[in-house]
C-alpha cells in the first residue's frame, strides 16, 4: 500500500518534470531536469524490482548523459529556437500515442499478477527454475542476459559499438579546441575527485564481477569505469586523461570488447557447439555444464564491460576535445 503511494507520487513527479521540460526554452534547465527525471525513473525501477535496469539508468541516464549534454550545451547555445510547426502538433502526437497506450492498458494483466501469462510461460519458468542448475549463478538476470539471451546481448554490445563507430565517423576528425577550457581552480574538487577515482574504479570492478550475484554486470561496470575517467578528465583536463588512456587504444578497445564477446561464441563453434553454447567450454561432454556457462558468462560480461567503457570514454573524448564552434 505504501509502496503504491510512493509509486504514485514518483509518477506525479515524472509528469510534472516532463511537462516542465516540454515547456522550457531554457536548455540548461532541461538538462538539469532530465537528470532528475532519470533519477526518479531509476527510483521507480527500484521499486518495481528491476534493479539492474535502475542501475543502468542511474549510471547512464543521470550520470554520463548529463555530462555529455553539459558538454554539448557548452558547445552550443542553451536557448532553444522557437518551434516551426504549430504548437498543437506535439500535443496531438502526445494525445494520440498516449491514447493508444492507455487503451492498451485496458486488458493488461495487473502489475505483478502471478496469473499473468508472462509469469506462467514456459520461458519464465525455465528461467526461474532451471537457471541455477544450468549455470550455478544466483542472479537470473545475468544468466538470461549473458547466456539464454546472450545473443541479444551481443547485439546490444554491437549497438554500443555501432554508436561509438557512428560518433567516430561523425566527429572523428574535429579540430581540437585551441584554448582548452579553464581548469577548475578548486582544490576541494580536485582532491575530492582524485581520492574518489580509485574507489570508483574498484567499485566498477566489484559491479562487474558481482553481477553474478546481485545487480550489476558488464554494462553498469563499463559505465562506472568510464565515469572514473570522465571525472578525471573533467577535474584536470581531457588532455591529461588522454595521456592515461590514449584515444587510439580506447577506440580499439571498443572493437576488442565486441570481438571478445564474439570470439567466445565462435570458440564454442570450434569446440563443436552452437554459437555461444557455453556448455562446450571446459567441457567433459556433460550437459548441463555450469562451469562452462560460468566461464562463458564471465568472458562475455568482460567483453561487454570493455566495449561499454571504451565507448563511453570515446564519446567523452570526442565531445570534450571539441572546440566551440
Amino acid at each position: 500500500m505504501i509502496i503504491h503511494g510512493i509509486t504514485i507520487i514518483l509518477f506525479l513527479f515524472l509528469y510534472v518534470i516532463a511537462i516542465v521540460i516540454g515547456r522550457s526554452r531554457n536548455l540548461f534547465a532541461a538538462v538539469m531536469l532530465s537528470g532528475i527525471f532519470s533519477l526518479i525513473s531509476a527510483c521507480l525501477f527500484v521499486i518495481m524490482d528491476a534493479v539492474d535496469v535502475a542501475f543502468t539508468e542511474a549510471a547512464v541516464g543521470a550520470g554520463v548523459s548529463t555530462v555529455l549534454m553539459m558538454i554539448v550545451l557548452n558547445l552550443t547555445s542553451d536557448r532553444e529556437s522557437p518551434p516551426v510547426q504549430p504548437k498543437v502538433f506535439p500535443l496531438l502526437v502526445a494525445l494520440l500515442t498516449g491514447g493508444v497506450l492507455i487503451y492498451a492498458t485496458k486488458d493488461m494483466p495487473a502489475f505483478g499478477d502471478p496469473e499473468a501469462l508472462i509469469h506462467q510461460s514456459q520461458t519464465t519458468n525455465h528461467y526461474l527454475w532451471h537457471s541455477f542448475e544450468e549455470s550455478h549463478i544466483p542472479n537470473v538476470v545475468t544468466t538470461v542476459l549473458a547466456s539464454y539471451r546472450g545473443y541479444d546481448t551481443l547485439g546490444e554490445t554491437t549497438v554500443v559499438f555501432t554508436a561509438a563507430v557512428a560518433v567516430m565517423l561523425l566527429l572523428g576528425h574535429v579540430r581540437e579546441s585551441e584554448t582548452p577550457p579553464k581548469l577548475i581552480n578548486d582544490p576541494i574538487a580536485l582532491v575530492g575527485a582524485k581520492m574518489l577515482i580509485p574507489y570508483i574504479l574498484l567499485f566498477a570492478l566489484y559491479v562487474q564481477f558481482h553481477g553474478d550475484f546481485g545487480p550489476g554486470g558488464g554494462f553498469q561496470a563499463g559505465v562506472m569505469f568510464a565515469a572514473a575517467f570522465v571525472l578525471h578528465g573533467m577535474v584536470l583536463s581531457p588532455k591529461h586523461t588522454l595521456k592515461a588512456a590514449p584515444a587510439l587504444i580506447i577506440e580499439k578497445l571498443v572493437a576488442l570488447g565486441v570481438l571478445l564477446y564474439a570470439a567466445v561464441g565462435i570458440y564454442c563453434l570450434f569446440k563443436g557447439g552452437n554459437f555461444l553454447e557455453y556448455d562446450v567450454l571446459l567441457s567433459h561432454g556433460e550437459k548441463p555444464n555450469p562451469h562452462g556457462q560460468h566461464i562463458g558468462i564471465l568472458l562475455v560480461e568482460a567483453g561487454v564491460g570493455l566495449t561499454v567503457f571504451a565507448a563511453m570514454l570515446t564519446l567523452f573524448y570526442k565531445f570534450a576535445l571539441r572546440g566551440k564552434a
Partner: protein
C-alpha cells in the same frame, strides 16, 4: 566447427559482425575494404547455399543459439522467405561493397574509411539479422544496429544537408524503433514468449485484448515508418539524396526492403490469423495509402531536378507497389510484392550506383548538369537507361515481372480499377525516367564539360546490378519460385489476412 553448412545461419550474421570490429582494429582503408567485401561474399555464398537447399525441397534445421531450446533462447529459423531476403541483402552488399572502394575514396576522407566500412558492415549485419532471426526482440536489436549505423552513414554525405537529413531520419527512425519495441513488449507481456513461431501460435488467442491490438498498431506504424510508406516517407528523399553514393545505393536497395519484410512477417504470421475479421477494412485502408504513395511518389519524382532525389521519390512509389501487393492478400499479389522487393532492390541499387558514377565524374546529379552526358559517359548512361526501363517495368527487365504479378494480383482480387491504376502509375515512371534520358542524350550541356567514362571499378559493379535486372527479368525461375513459395508460406502460416 564440424560442419560449416550446419552453422551457416548464424555465420551469416557473425561473419560481418566480427568483420566490423576487426576493421576498426586495423584502421587500414584497403584492408577494411577487403574484409568488407570478403564478409559480404561469404554471406552471399551462405545465403545462396541456403536458398538452394530450401528451393530444392530441403530444410534448414532450426539453429539454436547458445544451444538453448526455442522457448528459452534465441533461434534462427531459416525458411524460404528468410533465405530469399538474405540472398537479396548479401547479393546487393557483395556488389555495392566492391563498388565502394573507388567511390568511398572519392567521397569520404581517408582517415574515416575504416569507420565507414565498419558502419557499412554493421548496417549490413543489422539488416541481415532482422531478416534471419526468429525472435521478436532480436529483430529490435538488429534494427537498432542497422538504424544507428545507417544514420551515421547518411550523415557522411558531402553536402551539409546530409547531416540534417540524417538527423531527421534519426528522429523518425527512433520513433519507429520505439513503436516496434513497444509492440514487441506488449506482445511479450501477453504471451510470455518472444519466439516468433510461438508468438504466431499464441497471439491469436489474445487477439481480442487491447494489448495485442495496440501492439499490432505500434508494430505496423513502426515498420511503416522504417519502410517509408506514405505518409511516413518524409525522411527518405533527403537521406537518399544527400547520403554518399554507396550508402544511397546500399540503403535504398536494402533498408526499406527489410522493413517491408518485417511488416510482411508481422502481418501474416502474427496478425493474420488474429485479425481475420478486421482484414477487409484494414486492407482497403492500406491499399488506399499505397496508392496515394505510388501516385504521390511518382508525381513528385517528376518534379525533381536532382536525379538522386528523383530516384528517392520513385522509391516511395515503388514501396507503394510492394505494400499494395501485400494488401491484395492473394498469392499473386503477395508474390508480386515479394518479387518486387527483390527486383526493385536490384534496380534501385543499380541506379544509385549509376548516380555514384556521376558523382565521381561530375560531382553532381542535377539533371541540368547531366545534359548531354550520354555522349561523354555512354556506358554509365546505358546502365541508367536499362535501370530506368526496369523501373518503368518494361518487359525483359525485372521490373516487368513484379508489375505483372501485382497486376495479376489485382485481377485475382477482382479489382479491375486497380489494374488500371497500377498500369497508369507505371506511366508516370516513364515520364520521370525519360526526363533524365532526354536531358542526358538529347540535351545540350550548358558548358562543355570534359569528363571521361566512369572508371571500371565503378562500372563493373554497376553493371552487375543493372545486368541482373535484365537477367532476372528473363531467367526468373529461381527468384520467382522463391517469391512464390514465400508468398504461399505467408498465406498458409497466418491464414488469409
Amino acid at each position: 566447427m564440424s560442419n560449416i553448412i550446419e552453422h551457416l545461419p548464424v555465420l551469416q550474421i557473425v561473419v560481418p559482425l566480427v568483420a566490423a570490429p576487426t576493421i576498426v582494429l586495423f584502421r587500414n582503408s584497403t584492408l577494411s575494404w577487403i574484409l568488407a567485401v570478403l564478409a559480404s561474399w561469404f554471406c552471399l555464398f551462405g545465403s545462396i547455399t541456403m536458398l538452394n537447399q530450401i528451393n530444392g525441397g530441403g530444410e534448414i534445421p532450426t539453429y539454436l543459439i547458445g544451444g538453448w531450446d526455442p522457448h528459452v533462447g534465441i533461434v534462427y529459423q531459416v525458411d524460404i522467405a528468410n533465405a530469399f531476403i538474405l540472398t537479396l541483402l548479401s547479393g546487393i552488399s557483395a556488389v555495392v561493397f566492391v563498388y565502394a572502394r573507388t567511390s568511398v575514396r572519392d567521397e569520404i576522407p581517408e582517415a574515416k574509411h575504416h569507420y565507414f566500412y565498419a558502419a557499412l558492415l554493421l548496417c549490413f549485419t543489422g539488416l541481415m539479422g532482422m531478416a534471419i532471426t526468429g525472435d521478436a526482440f532480436n529483430i529490435f536489436v538488429f534494427l537498432e544496429i542497422s538504424s544507428l549505423s545507417g544514420y551515421a552513414l547518411i550523415a557522411m554525405g558531402r553536402n551539409p544537408k546530409a547531416l540534417t537529413a540524417a538527423y531527421r531520419y534519426l528522429i523518425m527512425g527512433t520513433l519507429g524503433g520505439t513503436f516496434i519495441l513497444l509492440g514487441i513488449g506488449f506482445l511479450y507481456m501477453m504471451t510470455g514468449t518472444l519466439n516468433l513461431e510461438e508468438l504466431s501460435h499464441a497471439v491469436p488467442h489474445y487477439a481480442e485484448t487491447s494489448v495485442v491490438r495496440a501492439a499490432f498498431a505500434f508494430i505496423t506504424v513502426g515498420t511503416c515508418i522504417k519502410l517509408a510508406l506514405f505518409p511516413l516517407h518524409m525522411w527518405l528523399p533527403n537521406c537518399y539524396t544527400y547520403a554518399p553514393s554507396v550508402v544511397s545505393a546500399f540503403l535504398s536497395a536494402t533498408a526499406t526492403k527489410v522493413s517491408f519484410y518485417v511488416l510482411l512477417r508481422a502481418m501474416f504470421m502474427l496478425f493474420g490469423a488474429a485479425l481475420i475479421a478486421q482484414a477487409k477494412i484494414f486492407l482497403s485502408f492500406v491499399i488506399f495509402l499505397a496508392l496515394i504513395g505510388i501516385f504521390m511518389g511518382s508525381l513528385k519524382a517528376i518534379g525533381q531536378d536532382d536525379v538522386k532525389r528523383l530516384l528517392a521519390y520513385s522509391s516511395i512509389a515503388q514501396i507503394g507497389y510492394m505494400v499494395l501487393g501485400l494488401s491484395l492478400d492473394n498469392a499473386d499479389g503477395l508474390t508480386g510484392a515479394i518479387i518486387h522487393l527483390f527486383n526493385h532492390a536490384l534496380t534501385k541499387g543499380g541506379l544509385f550506383l549509376v548516380m555514384g558514377c556521376f558523382m565521381y565524374r561530375l560531382n553532381s546529379t542535377k539533371i541540368k548538369d547531366l545534359a548531354g552526358i550520354g555522349k561523354k559517359m555512354p556506358l554509365t548512361m546505358l546502365a541508367f537507361t536499362i535501370g530506368g526501363l526496369s523501373l518503368i517495368g518494361v518487359p525483359l527487365t525485372a521490373g516487368f515481372i513484379s508489375k505483372w504479378y501485382l497486376a495479376m494480383g489485382a485481377l485475382q482480387a477482382g479489382m479491375w480499377w486497380l489494374l488500371v491504376l497500377i498500369l497508369l502509375a507505371s506511366l508516370l515512371a516513364v515520364v520521370y525516367i525519360f526526363r533524365v534520358l532526354e536531358a542526358a542524350y538529347f540535351g545540350t550541356p550548358e558548358k562543355e564539360h570534359d569528363v571521361e567514362e566512369a572508371p571500371f571499378s565503378l562500372l563493373f559493379p554497376t553493371y552487375v546490378l543493372i545486368g541482373s535486372t535484365i537477367f532476372f527479368g528473363i531467367w526468373t525461375e529461381p527468384m520467382l519460385g522463391a517469391a512464390r513459395k514465400s508468398a504461399e508460406l505467408f498465406l498458409s502460416s497466418g491464414g488469409a489476412l
